[in-house]
Symmetry: C2
């Protein structure tokens, strides 16, 4: 009769079953607290500020324009969340936050989280509606402007977006450079290259390769600047085009990273068919995304990314390795395999 | 030059330091995805629906009115998040979600998460503003109506709120019943009793005790119903009053749970002084909350709860055991100690 944490219906053996508690449920349900705390910290520039050295609470409060009511709670929450450390000289970044959340560093991944803070957090407030209707919940909702159209029309927003994409893709790009057998190929093309993380890392690691970044025209200058900053302009060039309307540039290896999940089934097949048509015999297609495990029970990030596609796109969805290999066979590739890259990302490689 | 995950500035020893990766940062920054997914599941009644037995995807989709675009992603995400299980007979609750998230059970803790979904998620979108201004961000912002005033004026909302409080307090209430030396006392009063989780669990465990629930008048009928449902109406009664305006009912032991954190420093001291004045010599005050560890680096939940007080109240904040013991000494208690209860909650006991 009494509600308690120690006697759920399943423990019919006199209480020797360890009690179920609501802790995991509450921690997940209120998990947006810690998440938004980090997002606000990135927005406020906490980590960029501390990249120049440790600082005490009063100093940080002044520099970040924090009200004294909750500044200490905020900073100590970041310590408890593992995002800051605190010692005799005050607050300081961890090794990871110093490397990845300092705006001044090329390794900055905060761009995507700044977008999450400014856009996604709010849109995800409409998740229940999206689950009922199947309709996206971002700026394009109800006839508003499509996300990509708006981004590509605004050079500053585009620059920020593609830089964010690069930072998130850097780990996968490095893993692709390391794990794929590049020595048997000569040329590659990254389809939907954005800033160019993959072409850069692959070209740096394999001096015999030349490559192309293929994306809509506004990306061109951003891509070329990025490639030039690594001294690779002789070996990596930009080709402007629309991967639905135009033929893909010829190459031995095509790469499609964080591309397929933006599109519905028909468009996914269209892209895969286009890749198959473009490749020579023996050529390869590398698809990478937060590939969901075939049993669809482990890769929470991939499954949640698919819900993010519900929020952000008209028809996009994430998929399993088995899904992708099936589509690749359907468009004519003779063999394929799945290989983990880093974190939640894997690549699915198809050979013609 | 190349941005990568393997060579942060701190690894000056040729790369034998394990690489820092952005995974923990990204998981936390995007943690609102998993959090909102659970909140939407509670809103949709997923767990209440499955409490009657397992169900397949198509069946659930129909019963929950989910669009087919993302229903499978949503349900499988809940599996990957540990909130559902999936087997040959379809989706089913876990032991914990069946016990704590089925609306039909007295152990339901979803009420607080329903409030988090309907109110807190949105208000926390304004965390950055709150950190700059020190101002709350809920309905009372800019002169709107105070949360408690609105709640207490609406019997249905009040019933839901106090039931949610009870469910969350049940674990702590049981622990207080077990850990405090009740045998040396005769009477108790729970100050700000809400529905009455503490009086009920304490009275059930200690048959020699009689007790009082003290709260604003609208809570009375709800408290009395709850107490009567346990057959305790002869031993536990309700006294209506305002713990700032009225004297506290006399008792050997006073309890203040999830009360102090709602108030600013002056009001905290006022309540503690009032408790000290009311108690007989040898009497005890039990304060409980998500007590922050003295070093303010471990109890992330307590620190984040303090930020929730920033969002929800004009002056409220959470505190450490050392803070509380200091205030208790200041108002005249002769001794005090801190004892963990369950999960993030602890009690701070003061003896007069």
């Amino acid at each position: 009769m009494a509600s308690s944490t120690v006697e759920p219906a399943s423990a019919g053996n006199g209480g020797s079953v360890p009690p179920v508690t609501p802790d995991q449920i509450m921690q997940l349900g209120l998990g947006f607290w810690g998440s938004k705390t980090l997002l606000s910290a990135i927005e406020l520039g906490v980590f960029s500020t501390l990249a120049s050295g440790p600082a005490g609470e009063e100093d940080l409060r002044r520099r970040l324009d924090l009200h004294e009511r909750s500044s200490r709670d905020f900073l100590d929450a970041l310590v408890a969340l593992g995002m800051l450390e605190r010692g005799p000289r005050g607050y300081r970044n961890t090794a990871a936050t110093d490397f990845f959340l300092d705006r001044a560093k090329p390794s900055y991944v905060g761009g995507l989280l700044e977008m999450a803070n400014a856009r996604l957090y709010g849109f995800w407030g409409s998740l229940t509606e999206a689950l009922h209707t199947g309709e996206l919940q971002n700026e394009a909702k109800g006839g508003g402007e499509d996300l990509f159209a708006a981004l590509y029309a605004d050079p500053d927003r585009l620059r920020g977006f593609v830089a964010a994409m690069s930072a998130i893709s850097a780990g996968a790009a490095l893993a692709i450079a390391q794990k794929f057998p590049w020595d048997r190929h000569h040329t590659f093309c990254d389809v939907g290259s954005a800033q160019g993380a993959v072409p850069v890392h692959v070209a740096l690691a394999h001096r015999h390769l030349t490559g192309i970044g293929f994306d809509l025209a506004p990306v061109g200058p951003i891509f070329e600047d990025f490639v030039a900053s690594f001294g690779l302009e002789e070996r990596v060039r930009f080709v402007a085009g629309d991967f639905f309307a135009d033929p893909l540039p010829a190459a031995d290896v095509l790469v499609m990273g964080h591309i397929l999940h933006d599109w519905g089934m028909d468009d996914k097949l269209k892209l895969l068919r286009s890749a198959h048509d473009t490749l020579p015999d023996g050529g390869a297609l590398i698809v990478y995304d937060a590939i969901i495990d075939d049993e669809r029970r482990e890769n929470a990030f991939g499954l949640l990314m698919s819900l993010n596609m519900l929020i952000e796109t008209r028809e996009g969805f994430d998929y399993t390795g088995a899904d992708c290999r099936g589509w690749m066979a359907e468009v004519g590739f003779r063999e394929s395999y799945v290989e983990p890259l880093v974190g939640p990302d894997s690549m699915v490689v198809a050979v013609k």
